[in-house]
């Protein structure tokens, strides 16, 4: 029940953000449409005529309302399908499996239909020869001149273009992980972020439209007769034999037609991409700020709370909770890396780790001794999803008990009251309220993965097929291993900033007790990461793909993690310097730490 309530809370906040983003997208639709109308009527020879177009008919108003409906639908789909942990297909067959997934099929169908609707609106707005699907004509050779309805192929070609572009957009979305929401390197205000990325969206929409229209023309040239005949049959229209058919070379080489197709496709993609962009900006706004990494960096008063002792008893509950969660998260990653490395070493082939469930089992089965000593005795800690740590950090006051189901150790002494005090300032300032909830996004990914058993079996079959063939995509397994590393990066930054600040701010020596385990955990992780980067494909840089709306941040997360880890260790060693020699640790760790103290890593 608690789970249910919690989900509702989480849904409420992200839904509000999504609704706000959709509202902005709908508001922006008007100027975008105006620009589209001006561009579509632009004629090179009569530039003045562009602005003296026909008055808006009732159809145009109706089409605008329809467009709003489409935008809302796109926004809804964004909300339904987004994820912060990308699904990375480890082989080409797995990718194919993703594309043929029933859910994806529904998605594509929806995009097709929305494409047709937008294209119809475009056709109506363009007017002229595109306006209706049928027109009265006199068929035959003059003897039998009864008025009939003939098919307007210009209208049809535009509608089908919309369907094609919508369909290809949904396929590309899967391939380039367009639903993946990444976190920006720097925090900016929404308006500035929007303004900054607008030119890029225009450029990439126009380019994508160009490629889609090119592909569409080829398809229409060869297969255009099928929908044409079908439409004629169902709507009881006739083909006007006196008009040149469009699925011929001469018909398709009509420059004005090409231009209108392209501008309609750009309009369609631009409105959708703008909706996506607004959604991303709204959902991730000030998300990282509430995260412990940035708070520990920017807010001395909050740090003071961390270093404080509980009033009766004098236990550093706040710090214990934070350090324990971060360390378990890091130990989890270490285990995953060690397990992966073992699999590669023994079988000679990597076990693909693209689902959360499987990842858990892998860390369960191979329980290495390396991290055992520094972990708490409860092995359940290791099985947590990264989401739990964020759930713990940001327990907002109104629903702090609600996050409990996500943390296995319900009986732990550091239950919510201690953390509530820590996070209390959050609730006081209203713009931050939404951010309290936002880490729940992290929980979304497991939810997305939990497909029905039938589908999972299918996916696993597909995966086993891919894993032993040469269809494997190189470095994809390495990407999948680090797919959720944003959480680890934040944990590392948060821990290291807190430890750095503790050098001058920690009055009670709260950090000192955990310093050995923090250092040990980081050094073990450093060793595991180093070993991982010695594997083939792990250290190869992915090709930078600047085009498209897809976010490729997940491809480089492992490099970011490696750099952050090193920086985190250096942050601690430069702050403490030779004082670290007094810290208890194993000889091997001391040797490794000495390298850092001498700046030789």
């Amino acid at each position: 029940i608690l789970d249910l309530v919690n989900n509702q809370c989480w849904n409420r906040v992200v839904c509000w953000r999504a609704v706000a983003s959709i509202a902005w997208a709908v508001l922006l639709l008007l100027p975008i449409t105006a620009v589209f109308v001006i561009l579509s009527r632009f004629s090179l020879l009569h530039p003045i005529q562009t602005f003296s177009g026909q008055s808006l008919c009732s159809f145009a108003i109706f089409s605008l309302i329809l467009m709003c409906g489409v935008i809302i639908m796109v926004g809804f789909l964004n909300l339904e399908y987004y994820t912060v942990i990308p699904t990375i297909a480890c082989s080409k067959i797995a990718l194919l499996g993703q594309l043929l997934h029933p859910r994806q099929f529904v998605n594509s169908l929806a995009h097709c239909i929305m494409g047709i609707i937008v294209a119809w609106c475009c056709a109506v707005t363009l007017g002229g020869r595109y306006e209706t699907i049928g027109y009265p004509c006199t068929q035959g050779d003059g003897t039998d001149s009864s008025p009939q309805m003939c098919l307007n192929e210009y209208h049809l070609i535009l509608l089908l273009a919309g369907a094609f572009v919508g369909f290809s957009h949904s396929l590309l979305a899967v391939i380039s992980n367009i639903n993946y929401v990444s976190f920006h390197t720097v925090q900016q205000y929404k308006y500035l972020r929007f303004k900054g990325s607008l030119p890029f969206v225009v450029k990439c929409s126009a380019a994508q439209a160009l490629y889609s229209v090119r592909n569409y023309i080829v398809v229409y040239f060869f297969l255009g007769y099928i929908p044409k005949a079908w439409i004629c049959k169902t709507l009881n229209l006739h083909l006007n034999s006196s008009v040149h058919p469009l699925d011929s070379i001469a018909g398709l080489l009509d420059l004005s037609l090409l231009y209108h197709q392209w501008i309609s496709a750009s309009f369609l993609l631009f409105t959708w991409n703008i909706t996506l962009l607004l959604f991303r900006i709204f959902v991730t706004e000030f998300l990282a700020l509430q995260d412990v990494a940035l708070l520990s960096q920017h807010s001395p008063s909050r740090r003071c709370e961390v270093f404080s002792l509980s009033q009766p008893g004098g236990h550093p509950h706040n710090w214990n909770a934070i350090s324990k969660e971060c360390l378990s998260l890091l130990a989890d990653l270490t285990q995953r890396l060690v397990a992966y490395h073992d699999t590669v070493a023994t079988n000679g082939r990597a076990k693909s780790l693209s689902t959360g469930s499987e990842r858990k089992t892998s860390s369960e089965t191979s329980f290495t001794s390396a991290t055992e000593d520094l972990m708490s005795p409860r092995p359940t800690l290791l099985l947590r999803t990264p989401a739990s740590v964020f759930a713990r950090f940001v327990v907002g006051t109104p629903h702090s008990p609600l996050t409990a189901p996500f943390t296995p150790d319900l009986d732990s002494p550091f239950a919510s009251p201690a953390l509530r005090r820590l996070t209390a300032p959050l609730d006081q300032c209203s713009p931050w309220f939404g951010t309290v909830q936002s880490p729940h996004i992290m929980r979304r990914a497991p939810k997305l993965w939990s497909t029905s058993t039938g589908e999972r079996r299918l996916m696993e079959d597909v995966r086993s097929l891919g894993s032993n063939g040469h269809l494997k995509l190189p470095e994809a397994s390495s990407q999948a291993l680090f797919a959720d590393s944003q959480a680890h990066i934040w944990a590392l930054e948060g821990l290291s900033y807190l430890v750095q600040a503790s050098f001058s701010e920690d009055q009670f020596g709260v950090i000192q007790t955990t310093l050995p385990s923090i250092l040990g955990c980081m050094l073990i992780l450093q060793e595991a990461v180093d070993r991982h980067f010695k594997l083939p494909h792990a250290s190869s840089k992915p090709v930078r793909s600047a085009s498209g709306m897809g976010d490729s941040t997940y491809k480089t997360l492992r490099f970011a993690l490696r750099a952050t880890l090193k920086t985190a260790i250096y942050r601690i060693t430069t702050t403490f310097g030779n004082h670290l020699n007094a810290v208890q640790m194993s000889a091997e760790h001391r040797k490794r730490l000495q390298q850092f103290l001498e700046y030789k890593e």
Partner: protein, 520 residues
């Protein structure tokens, strides 16, 4: 507030500044100096003759090959690749015998239109018409950059090593504890304008080049003297070249870069090679960046009379228009609360004070100073020395504040044509706590004929401050300033620097305050 008159007179010819001890700058003859310096491993000398220079640029290699007639298509493709749209239009216009007349005429017309437009744009921002070499020389923090043997210098923020970029586009890394001096060379490493080591890291070195940014990863344990170009990450963004200034965040997580050609300054996540452009209208580019030591603000100056101060939490900026010229240089106090800057065409140093509010909102937005205050006037002053009159003062090329906040070095441009107006480094004593104060210290001079070109303080010198100066002769010397910092507790006599101290204390001018916040 004529401040240079309070300085001790410059040294006579043949004398060089050795160090500061007991509130006094000690000098010696050049030969003594050289003997002493040559024994220390960190003093370097790069004679101009020892460097092999590039005599030609890459694009001019075309002339070395036989003319080969290609089809128009091939030439157009090559022109598009090399010169972009302008190159393509140029090629079509020039080969008017092979293309239809309307095409060549229309491309010629478009080209003329483009040129007219760019000249119009250039008249708004004159620096856009410069070649990239001239632009680098104009906006570099190095005096007379194009003629300088040592083009960039950077101490490592934690370890005792430094990187030197030379005229032949190579970078050498010197470490007194290691026998190897790695030399970094890369195909794209041309016209190095700045180098900086990544904080909280032992190995990463960012290099601002003509066409891109390079981040070298030089393994300190490696014995290789020529790390392969695979050790370098190339960060580039279309339109973002030449890069004239770079700055790492003090926490080592972000890198910002600036180009006078690009109105956006780039914030790089180096590990993932992704960048976020921070664009603002106005200014026409970004020339110089400086990150405050507490990582809360970034100074970004533009080629026009305007500079910006960004706060780094939400990356918003405030505009500071200048009256006369562009902001030439700037430096932050160690606690990040004060920004000293100089303006081209003026002979004064300004200060801006930022509040310690947690949100990083400077005081000027509330009720603090609405304008910058003048802290030092460095207008020309004539000194009578044994070798005749020497005029010191004028425009300021760069500023450098030592990490303890006790010494401020100012590189004065001088006049290269006039022999009696040399470029010189003036050093001030500063105090930031409890109030900001400036006191004269002295001039730092090198051997005869050598002018200072660039200077940098050692980031963690134990006994005070260590100023590293790169001279026009290709020599790099280190001038230590021995003092006990105000923040350092005095441990009796054992903490005092172990240098021969003269008995007489010429404290006449040393205690005259030039600027304090009390009187201003």
């Amino acid at each position: 507030m004529c401040s240079l008159a309070l300085f001790p007179a410059p040294l006579a010819c043949g004398q060089t500044t050795l160090c500061e001890s007991n509130n006094e700058l000690l000098s010696g003859t050049a030969t003594d100096h050289r003997l002493k310096q040559d024994s220390s491993p960190l003093s370097l000398y790069f004679p101009r003759e020892s460097l092999k220079l590039h005599c030609r640029t890459e694009s001019s290699s075309k002339a070395a090959f036989l003319d080969h007639s290609e089809t128009l298509w091939m030439r157009s493709a090559a022109a598009w690749r090399d010169g972009g749209l302008t190159g393509l239009l140029n090629e079509i216009t020039n080969s008017n015998t092979e293309v239809p007349k309307w095409l060549s005429v229309s491309s010629g017309f478009t080209l003329a239109l483009l040129r007219w437009f760019s000249s119009f744009h250039g008249s708004l921002f004159p620096h856009l018409t410069m070649s990239s070499e001239n632009m680098l020389a104009e906006f570099s923090q190095v005096l007379n950059w194009s003629d300088c043997v040592v083009r960039a210098f950077a101490w490592h923020p934690h370890a005792d090593k430094f990187a030197v970029a030379l005229l032949d586009d190579s970078i050498k890394i010197y470490n007194p504890k290691s026998a190897t001096t790695p030399t970094l060379k890369h195909r794209l490493q041309r016209s190095v304008a700045a180098v900086q080591w990544k904080p909280m890291c032992a190995s990463a070195l960012a290099v601002a080049c003509q066409n891109c940014l390079l981040v070298w990863h030089v393994d300190p344990c490696s014995l290789s003297t020529r790390p392969s170009s695979g050790c370098a990450q190339v960060l580039s963004n279309p339109g973002h070249s030449p890069v004239t200034s770079i700055a790492w965040s003090p926490s080592g997580s972000l890198l910002v870069s600036a180009s006078p050609m690009d109105t956006a300054m780039m914030v790089w996540d180096v590990a993932s090679e992704s960048c976020v452009p921070l664009q603002r209208v106005g200014g026409g580019g970004v020339t110089f960046l400086s990150w405050s030591p507490d990582s809360s603000h970034v100074l970004a100056s533009t080629p026009s009379a305007l500079f910006r101060v960004w706060e780094t939490r939400t990356w918003t900026c405030e505009r500071w228009p200048c009256v006369k010229g562009r902001c030439q240089s700037g430096c932050w106090s160690p606690d990040g609360s004060r920004l000293l800057f100089t303006v081209q065409g003026e002979m004064v140093i300004y200060v801006l004070t930022f509040g310690d509010t947690p949100a990083g909102v400077p005081t000027c937005t509330s009720k603090g100073p609405q304008a910058a205050a003048v802290v030092a006037d460095l207008s020309e002053t004539t000194f009578n020395t044994a070798d005749g009159d020497i005029i010191v003062g004028g425009e300021i090329h760069s500023l450098s504040w030592d990490p303890t906040g006790e010494r401020l070095a100012v590189l004065l441009e001088g006049d290269p044509q006039a022999a009696d107006r040399p470029a010189i480094i003036a050093v001030f004593k500063t105090r930031t706590n409890p109030i900001f104060e400036l006191l004269p210290c002295g001039f730092v001079q090198g051997e005869p004929g050598a002018e200072p070109r660039m200077m940098q303080f050692h980031p963690n010198f134990q006994h005070g401050a260590l100023l590293t100066v790169c001279w026009s002769s290709g020599r790099i010397t280190h001038v230590p300033f021995y003092f006990l910092g105000a923040g350092v507790p005095h441990f009796g006599l054992s903490g005092s620097p172990s240098l021969p101290r003269p008995q007489e204390r010429p404290a006449d001018f040393a205690n005259q305050s030039l600027f304090t916040e009390l009187i201003s």
